[in-house]
């Protein structure tokens, strides 16, 4: 077994006993990367020597992979887009500053859907990432690179971002743990914005304990982000073993309806039974506005995105089309620099915000968003957690949905409501399909109650062991 297969907490235990040091782990990680990266394509930037040097300087440093939409000072940060080619931010994101303070070791930048617009990591200008469990399938998106890297033992820990499910959905499809914290729990400073009111940085790890460990490292108030909350951060690793006895869990009926794959539903039902056996009280609940979540999301997210992406105009940085006048510079820079999905969403968002349509779309969507939030508030007044499948289907084939955006958008149908309501949620492995693809279980809590999630997820994981199974990666 290579040291790259260790979890962070196992690694720390060994370091404490002076059995290993970070440098050896990083060496094994790069061995794994050299072996499988051309098949998986999880990374868009790697600097082996710099990583090894850093590990030498930080003997207890845990290797972390970072999604390419998070600013890393002096290192490429491109959001998987041609328009940011050559861009090296002059500053570190808030989470990177915290990782630096924790003496983590930086492995590389991971692949993603362009500007995090997608559910399959196929829209990156660096080409698609492949799912380590089956190279014909997608790893999920948009943090597909981060999920694949952790799943394939090409990183110990990874940072992702989640706007509508972009951490949880790929975590489910790659058989790893993916946590989106409460909106405001982790600084967004330096996260290249997709939809500011929905974006949240989170963690992708091999098990629940690592998720608690990594969240401890990055959570907390950042004066550079006015949306980050000034609330004390508990030590999440301390609550893991509390068990589920007495936890009240709601099972929303709307999440088990049409479009949910049979095998997915069966695995999740089994998981609910398992948690009941362990002492949790599981009851069916209703979140009646669920059916509107995707529509609301595809008004609000593109609206904010159209504005957030306006800065990519070729004037200050990144790709610039060589043109004679200003207007052509704008048009051609954006025409050549952005991919199809980005253009589609910018146009959608621009339309939704334009005068005459603003009331009918943007304002209406905000109102429905409030109703969705109220649905959750109501359930959380009586329940500690909500359990659902993470993704309606296991990983699908590369190319299968890329030309059918509406079908693609439905991949996030079960994760989107959580972002609209600003809640914390995790996806953990809860089974496999007959063809051997992982299935994810989503656990949702009320704002700033990540602790309840950790208790439940850890108990399930320790009593089942799905997280221990590793993909047998084939070469293309």
């Amino acid at each position: 077994m290579g040291l790259n297969e260790l979890t962070a907490h196992e690694m720390l235990a060994k370091i404490k006993k002076k059995e290993i040091c970070s440098h050896e782990v990083v060496k094994d990680i790069f061995k794994q990367i050299e072996c499988f990266e051309k098949d998986i394509n999880a990374y868009v930037f790697l600097d082996k020597q710099a990583s090894l040097n850093q590990a030498k300087a930080r003997p207890a440093g845990i290797p972390v992979a970072v999604k390419d939409n998070i600013c890393t000072k002096g290192k490429p940060t491109t959001c998987g887009s041609k328009i940011l080619s050559g861009f090296r931010p002059p500053y570190n994101a808030g989470v990177i500053q915290k990782l630096e303070a924790s003496k983590a070791v930086f492995i590389g930048k991971t692949n993603m859907d362009e500007f995090a617009f997608g559910s399959s990591t196929e829209t990156s200008c660096f080409g698609p990432t492949r799912n380590p469990w089956n190279l014909k399938t997608i790893p999920g998106g948009s943090s597909g690179g981060s999920a694949a890297a952790v799943s394939a033992d090409q990183a110990i820990l990874a940072i992702g971002s989640d706007t509508g499910g972009s951490i949880r959905q790929p975590a489910a499809m790659c058989g790893v743990v993916g946590l989106k914290p409460t909106y405001g729990r982790v600084s967004r400073f330096g996260l290249i914005a997709f939809a500011s009111s929905l974006d949240q940085i989170g963690v992708i790890t091999k098990d629940v304990e690592d998720a608690a460990l990594l969240l401890n490292m990055i959570a907390g108030h950042d004066p550079c982000d006015s949306t980050s909350v000034d609330l004390a951060v508990p030590d999440y690793t301390q609550v893991l073993r509390a068990g589920v006895k007495g936890l009240k869990i709601g099972i929303p009926k709307e999440y088990f309806g049409r479009g949910i794959d049979r095998e997915v539903e069966d695995s999740v039902r089994n998981a609910i039974k398992k948690l009941s056996d362990l002492g949790a009280e599981c009851r069916e609940v209703s979140l009646p506005h669920t059916e509107f979540a995707v529509s609301v999301y595809y008004i609000l997210a593109p609206a904010e995105a159209s504005s957030n992406l306006a800065r990519y105009d070729g004037i200050q940085y990144g790709y610039r089309a060589k043109e004679e006048n200003l207007l052509d510079t704008y048009f051609d820079t954006r025409k050549q620099g952005f991919g199809r999905e980005v253009k589609r969403r910018v146009i959608l968002g621009t339309y939704a915000l334009s005068s005459g349509y603003y009331e009918a779309y943007y304002i209406k969507a905000q109102k429905v968003r409030t109703l969705l939030k109220k649905d959750f508030d109501k359930v959380f007044s009586r329940y500690d957690l909500i359990l659902t499948p993470t993704s309606p289907t296991p990983a699908f084939n590369i190319g299968e949905k890329i030309n059918d955006p509406l079908k693609m958008y439905l991949s996030d149908i079960l994760t989107i409501p959580v972002n609209l309501a600003g809640l914390p949620a995790v996806s953990i492995p809860c089974g496999f399909t007959a063809s051997g693809l992982p299935i994810g279980l989503q656990i949702i809590a009320k704002p700033f109650n990540e602790e309840a999630i950790f208790k439940c997820a850890y108990a399930f994981e320790q009593n089942t062991g799905y997280h221990l199974k590793k993909p047998e990666i084939e070469h293309k």
Binding site: T77, P90, Y91, R188, S226, T227, E304, S306, S355
Partner: protein
């Protein structure tokens, strides 16, 4: 047909905080291009704005001084448009719910409504190097500088009133010490909306926006030109189109810039990167308590406490420094009327002559007070005092010293004056005759003779008295 004008003014004021509205960068004017920028004000990917508390305090100060209501919730919006000097291609401003609204300003007895006062960030500046016409450079030092937009209702009725409104506004901003209001440095900018309608009708005419006015006089001139242009058009049966026009100060005309058809759709929506928050009533009260006495109430107090005329009080309160200076003088010597006369007369003349403000003049209030006191006590006469004033400014020594050094002691001795007066009577029998024949003005001529003889050092009151006495007796 007679027309009436409806003028609305939009004033942008740069708040003179040390740092920018959403980041810690310096706001110093005139620095090397792009030397005062950071990821936030450059709008680099991933950067987020954080509101500068001091900016908010100053904005609330202005809003309260303009009698505005303060919004219960503070929120910002994005105004989306593409321009190379706009780092994010949107401007963070306030649209739906401005910081404050429904205020007013008393301008010469008339209340001009203030629709809203709101905060926003400034954009950068394009620089065009002269030799290469194909290149534009961008300086982002100005990007993120805090601006306050003050919008009046369109009820200003003449260019003169607009001028008075702006002067008063500038004076208030000066009193609050929140902006240097320098139009040349761009810290105060003004756009105007102008429409005219036949007198007595209710609906507003087509609105023309005028930009590019860079002095108060420019505003007045541009408005005068625009009003007569619109009147001529209507009189000639033409229709006024809604458009934006630029003031060309060199030619003295407004020129069409863009019509409404090309107007932008700014796609305003709430800025999701800044959390809305409430300004607590206690905070507003605390700011209210810090408000200085404003020009309006200061003027009333000056009239009441110092028995000054409306005009004199108006001149003295036009700037806070001048009003403070006046009160300092009064503290040294309690003769407000004389002090007011001196400040509004001789001192203002000196300021204009030297193109300086009172603080830069170097005339100590105690010196001016002393000078006036010497006149009142007849140590020197007024003519001598006026001669001394420039010396007081330049040499910075006290009036007593200067009087002593120049030997300027007023001749008040009856014996000394008697001889000179007798000679004047002897030399000017014609004037004596005129006076005795009832021409009172002839006396002034004789006084003048005596003053000339004494090189202006005679005590004019005594000269008068002695002359009258002699002429009665002879």
């Amino acid at each position: 047909m007679k027309y009436e004008a409806n003028i609305g003014l939009e004033v942008h004021v740069q708040l003179s905080t040390k740092s920018k509205i959403f980041c810690g960068c310096s706001t110093r004017f005139g620095a090397r291009p792009n030397s005062q920028t950071c990821p936030v004000c450059l709008g680099l990917p991933g950067s987020l704005p954080v509101l500068n508390k001091e900016v908010l305090n100053r904005a609330v100060k202005v809003a309260l001084a303009l009698n505005c209501k303060i919004a219960g919730k503070l929120k910002f919006d994005r105004k989306n448009y593409f321009y190379p000097d706009l780092p994010k291609n949107y401007q963070i401003s306030q649209f739906g719910e401005p910081l404050s609204y429904q205020g007013y300003l008393e301008v010469a007895g008339r209340r001009i409504g203030i629709v809203r006062v709101h905060l926003e960030e400034d954009a950068g500046k394009l620089v065009h190097p002269e030799l290469s016409v194909k290149t534009s450079l961008v300086d982002f030092n100005r990007a993120g500088i805090p601006l306050l937009e003050i919008v009046s209702t369109p009820e200003i009725s003449s260019p003169e009133e607009a001028y008075r409104y702006l002067s008063l506004l500038k004076s208030i901003l000066g009193y609050l010490e929140i902006s240097d209001c320098n139009m040349e440095k761009g810290s105060l900018r003004c756009d105007a909306n102008v429409s005219i309608r036949p007198q007595g009708t209710a609906s507003l005419g087509a609105k023309v926006e005028i930009k590019n006015m860079n002095s108060f006089k420019g505003v007045k001139d541009a408005l005068s030109y625009e009003l007569s242009r619109q009147e001529k058009m209507l009189a000639g049966g033409e229709r006024i189109i809604q458009e934006t026009r630029l003031w060309d100060a060199a030619e003295g005309v407004t020129k069409s810039m863009r019509s409404k058809e090309e107007a932008h759709d700014y796609r305003y929506f709430p800025e999701p990167d800044l959390v809305p928050f409430v300004i607590e009533p206690a905070e507003i009260e605390a700011i209210k308590d810090q408000l200085p006495e404003l020009p309006g109430s200061k003027k009333e107090r000056f009239k009441k406490d110092y028995f000054l005329s409306d005009y004199d009080a108006g001149v003295l309160i036009s700037s806070k420094d001048l009003a403070d200076y006046f009160e300092e003088c009064v503290k040294s010597y309690n003769n407000p009327k004389q002090i007011s006369n001196w400040i509004t007369g001789e001192v203002l003349a000196q300021l204009n002559l030297r193109h300086v403000r009172i603080k830069e003049l170097g005339l100590l209030a105690s010196h001016l007070a002393e000078l006036i006191k010497m006149v009142d006590s007849e140590e020197i006469n007024i003519k001598m005092a006026k001669q001394i004033l420039p010396e007081l400014i330049e040499k910075k020594s006290s009036p007593a010293e200067i009087v002593k050094n120049r030997g300027l002691v007023q001749v008040s001795s009856k014996d000394q004056l008697a001889g000179i007066i007798d000679k004047a009577i002897e030399d000017n029998p014609g004037s004596v005759k005129d006076y005795q024949g009832g021409k009172v003005r002839a006396l002034e001529f004789l006084v003048g003779r005596v003053m000339r003889q004494t090189k202006g050092m005679a005590n004019p009151r005594m000269v008068n008295e002695i002359l009258k006495e002699r002429l009665k007796n002879s």
